[in-house]
Amino acid sequence: MKAFAYLTADDFEAASKALAGKGPRAVAKAGGTDLLTLLKSRLLEPDEVVNLSRAKRGAGKGELSALATLAEVAADAWVKENFPAVAKAALEAATPQVRNAGTVGGNLCQHTRCWYFRDASYTCFKRGTGDCSAAPDGAENRYHAIFPHKRCVSAHPSNLAPALIAVGAKVACVHPDGDRTLDAEILYDEGPSGRRSDTILREGELIRAVLLEPSPLAKRSTYVELRERQSFDFALASVAAALDLDGGIVKDVRIVCGGVAPVPYRATAAENLLRGRKLDVEAAARAAVAGATPLSGNGYKVPILGELVRRALTELSS
């Protein structure tokens, strides 16, 4: 790690102010479980690290503090009861030690695990150092996206993001130019030409809390993932699904996939196919993967994703 000054913020407002306008010279740290790995490999060499971990949590009713740890989310009775996908996603993430330190905000804003992104000696669209190294011939891309973007084929790493999108969560953001509340899904909007940063947050903008509103859709939600190694592993693919059934007819449904695209991937075709009809799990599973364009080394993720959609919907329909 390069030496840095350490600024501990009392609240998100102060932290955001300290970060804004400094570009890569200042970074925010919550639990530090992702940030420290990037600092150690010198992918980031900020002059200042702004510590959020002692900021006032200030989360109100129906809110999940951005500083809540994954372990706290997984164990929270209200979340378990009303947003089972979120609790499950948190429980399945990482290791017990990481879940005790890693936070909701950090999990949503963590950087991709693409090994080319994480090694400064390769060019990388996300790092702004050139073209994606994972796409061309000869690249090792077995864990990458099957719904790749033209300019980046990394796989989205977060467990929480698909789950939060599936239950319709919003994120409350703080910035000196004005606070705002975004749909969790908007956070990852790629835009037409791709985006370097992992989220659409403005420079210095911070997530203060996640806003959760109970709904029948959210209550009937789940999260499933598939790991190569069971002990801990980033998921080969994950599916967060939420289903609102009315006498066997699908009133509303959300199917959001992790690990298969540079951002959480909304299986819109499958959702559209299901909405207003009798639940047809097989058709949904087929539709979810229909548009997949796997890379040289990850075609196997396609049937896995289909199976996860099948599992999630089957669980929700019983």
Binding site: M1, K2, A3, R42, R113, W115, Y116, D119, S121, Y122, G138, A139, E140, R142, Y143, L226, E228, R229, Q230, S231, F232, D233, F234, L236, P294, G297, N298, G299, Y300, V302, P303, I304, E307, R310
Partner: protein, 734 residues
């Protein structure tokens, strides 16, 4: 003449032997052990569970400095220029080295080195070094390296190192002709890295012209001798200390480049210096080479194995040789032939890795045996029984088959699924590797204290405890009554821990030392109380055969000298050398059975149960023996399902040189494991103890591979068996 009872209760063989005077009578089936063969906790267990055990990584001095190499991101390059000016200008940078002008042959080869006051300064200094390379084209796979016109790895040398050729091809072809069925198949295994949790490295300190090295090594004496050569100083001026050691698995027989660099930095600065590799560097510090094994095997319908023909290639990176595989082997073939090539690539070099060549060879060999069984419609266990010459393994088949419930094995692919179960098995064969030359010193003090000392190391296999148990047995004492000193080259010589030589080679000298010290003690006792010292012995903390009751302590109190000391060696046959006693089989036999569950929708393989029956000669301690077998099985599972060094083919860089992308089995991946140490009176030495370190990891991947094939009805001939490969084999991948 005495009678030696060899083998195991169901299969005993007697041999008439001459016991040389002054040597302890050899242990055999008649020996009634008091300590040996019973469960004991390790002597260093408390130190390890409390964090008090000091590993080389943990050695600290007030004025300690830190050293590290800067490494090339390119696999093949000329180091044009190394600019150290910025690094040298930093406060706290104390020493630098440059490798300007050298040729880089793998991504991760060192090009510069720095030693500094703190790890933070060191980190800054390495970042500040500017290196210019002439980047050259690289080859990273066996196929690429074998292409016409491929860039050479070592100047003036082709990339193909035509290796060992064994057997008579003509005879094998005749056997194929005579056989009913001939099966051709190609098997592949991956590169596996050692992933020792304590990385390689050392702490070096000079006191005047004398060097002390705290080294994470499997061979304290090799490090001593290597350092003495490096610095042109006598061995007597080098002391190597390895009190505890966090795993080696074959990769730590140094001194390595970084150890020598560390010692140079320590000498230049006259300060103790630490150079321990980081995780990325550890992945590059050695590996189990990969293999492509083209096999043609044949069999008669009655299950007689006929011809076995293997052509293998593998890469040991930029090291010449070392990619041999153990295939064919184990079973009786009418005729066998193998040709084994090592292909040079621009990758970090292979090193010995727990049973070098065996897991990769046995994965293919045992797969082929199952393919033959399948082809003639014979139970694979039956086919093995028919062709296995080893009496120990024949018994182990029985024990293992019963424990796993082999009768439940269905016809391959017949399980209904979608989660399909399967059973598989595989075997291991290993040498009885007792090597002469190691020495143990036994000292008995007048207060009854006993010290057993040897300068080699305990790499986690329990050597310290084994020495204690064997010494205690000989002296009629308990494990707690003896003190074992290990891991300092100022004590008597001990071998490097490789080839599973340690326990078979260290136990006879331990016995000899304790035996001789005991005889000396008893002579003093006889001088004090009368009686015939040769009729006396030590049992249960007492002297037997003396004119009056004496405890061990009282006996020691009668010493006319301060202490008695004896140096024990492994006795050899007088004259020509060789082992004192005949062997039972002269080899070590093991069998493993695996039960797996394969989810055909996701391709995930879950190992449900593994049964490992493993011979290791006389079992010294069933508890630590079980640990050793468990450990071998677990590494085998990890090799079978998860581990794989992944190189980017364009750069030769390992993209998963960490513990996230390089996956080793964890707690949630554990099946039920039943480890059964199988005690055999093996003869040969005074203890009849045999090798156990490596063999238990050999058959696991073969057994799992066969179980997966049994579950699916489709065979995956490539390790690791990942969801990607399972789904591809099932035809589910577009």
């Amino acid at each position: 003449m005495s009678e030696l009872r060899l083998g195991f209760p169901d299969n005993e063989r007697k041999a008439d032997v001459e016991i040389p005077p002054g040597t302890p009578p050899p242990w055999d089936l008649s020996t009634d052990h008091k300590v040996v063969g019973r469960e004991h906790t390790r002597l260093d267990a408390v130190a390890k569970v409390t964090g008090r055990a000091k590993y080389s990584y943990d050695i600290r001095f007030k004025d300690l400095i830190y050293a590290k190499f800067l490494r090339s991101p390119h696999a093949h390059a000329k180091v044009k220029r190394v600019d150290l000016a910025n690094a040298k200008a930093m406060k706290g940078v104390l020493y630098t080295e440059s490798y300007e002008g050298e040729t880089v042959r793998y991504a991760g080869q060192h090009v510069a080195g720095v030693a500094a006051e703190s790890e933070e300064i060191l980190d800054d200094a390495l970042r500040a070094i500017v290196v210019e390379y002439d980047v050259l084209p690289c080859v990273t796979t066996v196929e690429e390296a074998s292409n016409e016109g491929a860039p050479g790895v070592i100047e003036g040398r082709g990339n193909l190192e035509a290796g060992r050729e064994q057997g008579n091809l003509k005879r094998v072809q005749d056997a194929h002709d005579e056989a009913d069925i001939v099966v051709d198949a190609e098997y592949r295994t991956q590169v596996q890295t050692h992933s020792c949790l304590e990385t390689h490295g050392s702490v070096c300190r000079w006191d005047g012209g004398k060097l002390t090295v705290w080294s994470s090594t499997q061979s304290t004496f090799a490090v001593r001798d290597g350092m003495a050569r490096t610095f042109g100083i006598p061995q007597s001026d080098v002391t190597v200390i390895t009190e505890h050691m966090g795993g080696g698995f074959g990769s730590k027989f140094g001194p390595d480049a970084w150890d020598q660099f560390c010692a140079r930095a320590a000498r230049a600065t006259q300060r103790p210096c630490r150079a321990m590799l980081d995780r990325r560097e550890e992945h590059l510090a050695g590996n189990r080479p990969d293999s492509i094994q083209k096999c043609r095997f044949s069999v008669k319908k009655d299950g007689t194995l006929m011809g076995a023909e293997v052509r293998s290639q593998g890469t040991s990176g930029n090291a010449t040789g070392g990619a041999n595989v153990y295939n064919p082997g184990i079973y009786r073939f009418r005729a066998a032939y193998s040709k084994q090539d090592t292909v040079l690539t621009h990758a970090s070099s292979g090193r010995a890795f727990r049973a070098p060549g065996h897991p990769q060879g046995v994965f293919a060999l045992e797969g082929m045996i199952d393919e033959l069984a399948e082809a003639i419609g014979m139970d694979p266990l039956e086919l093995r029984r028919k062709n296995d010459p080893n009496p120990v393994r024949l018994k182990e088949y029985e024990i293992g088959a019963k424990e796993i419930g082999w009768h439940r094995r269905k016809k391959s692919g017949s399980d209904a699924g979608p989660v399909k179960r399967g059973l598989g098995m595989a075997s291991a064969r290993w040498g009885h590797n007792a090597r002469p030359g190691a020495e143990v010193r036994c000292t008995i003090g007048r207060d009854g204290s006993v010290i057993l000392a040897n300068g080699s190391q305990d790499i986690g296999t329990g050597t310290r405890t084994v020495i204690g148990l064997v010494g205690a047995e000989e002296l009629g004492l308990g494990l707690d009554d003896v003190e074992v000193r290990l891991g300092n080259t100022n004590d008597p010589y001990g071998h490097g821990s490789g080839g599973s030589v340690t326990t078979p080679s260290i136990t006879p000298p331990t016995r000899a030392a304790a035996f001789e010290a005991k005889r000396e003690l008893l002579r003093h006792v006889a001088a004090a109380v009368g009686g015939d010292p040769d009729a006396m012995d030590l049992k249960d903390g007492k002297v037997t055969g003396a004119p009056r009751e004496l405890t061990f302590k009282q006996a020691c109190g009668m010493l006319a000298v301060d202490q008695v000391t004896a140096l024990g060696r492994m006795e050899q046959k007088p004259g020509g050398g060789g082992h004192l006693y005949p062997p039972f089989t002269g080899e070590v036999a093991g069998v493993q059975f695996a039960e797996v569950e394969v989810d055909t929708r996701t391709g995930v393989v879950r190992v449900v149960k593994v049964v490992a029956v493993q011979d290791c000669g006389l079992v010294i301690d069933p508890l630590t023996a079980r640990s050793q077998i468990h450990g071998g099985v677990i590494q085998g599972i990890s090799y079978a399902l998860f581990e794989e060094r992944i190189l980017d083919r364009r750069t030769g860089d390992q993209v998963n040189a960490d513990f996230l992308g390089y996956k080793i089995a964890g707690a949630l991946d554990m099946p039920e494991i039943v480890s059964i140490p199988f005690s055999v009176s093996q003869g040969m030495t005074t203890t009849g103890v045999s090798s156990l370190g490596e063999p238990p990891t050999v058959p696991t991947s073969g057994a799992i591979g066969n179980a997966v094939a049994n579950a699916l009805g489709v065979r995956i001939r490539s390790l690791p068996i990942t969801p990607a490969k399972v789904l591809a084999a099932l035809g589910g991948v577009r």
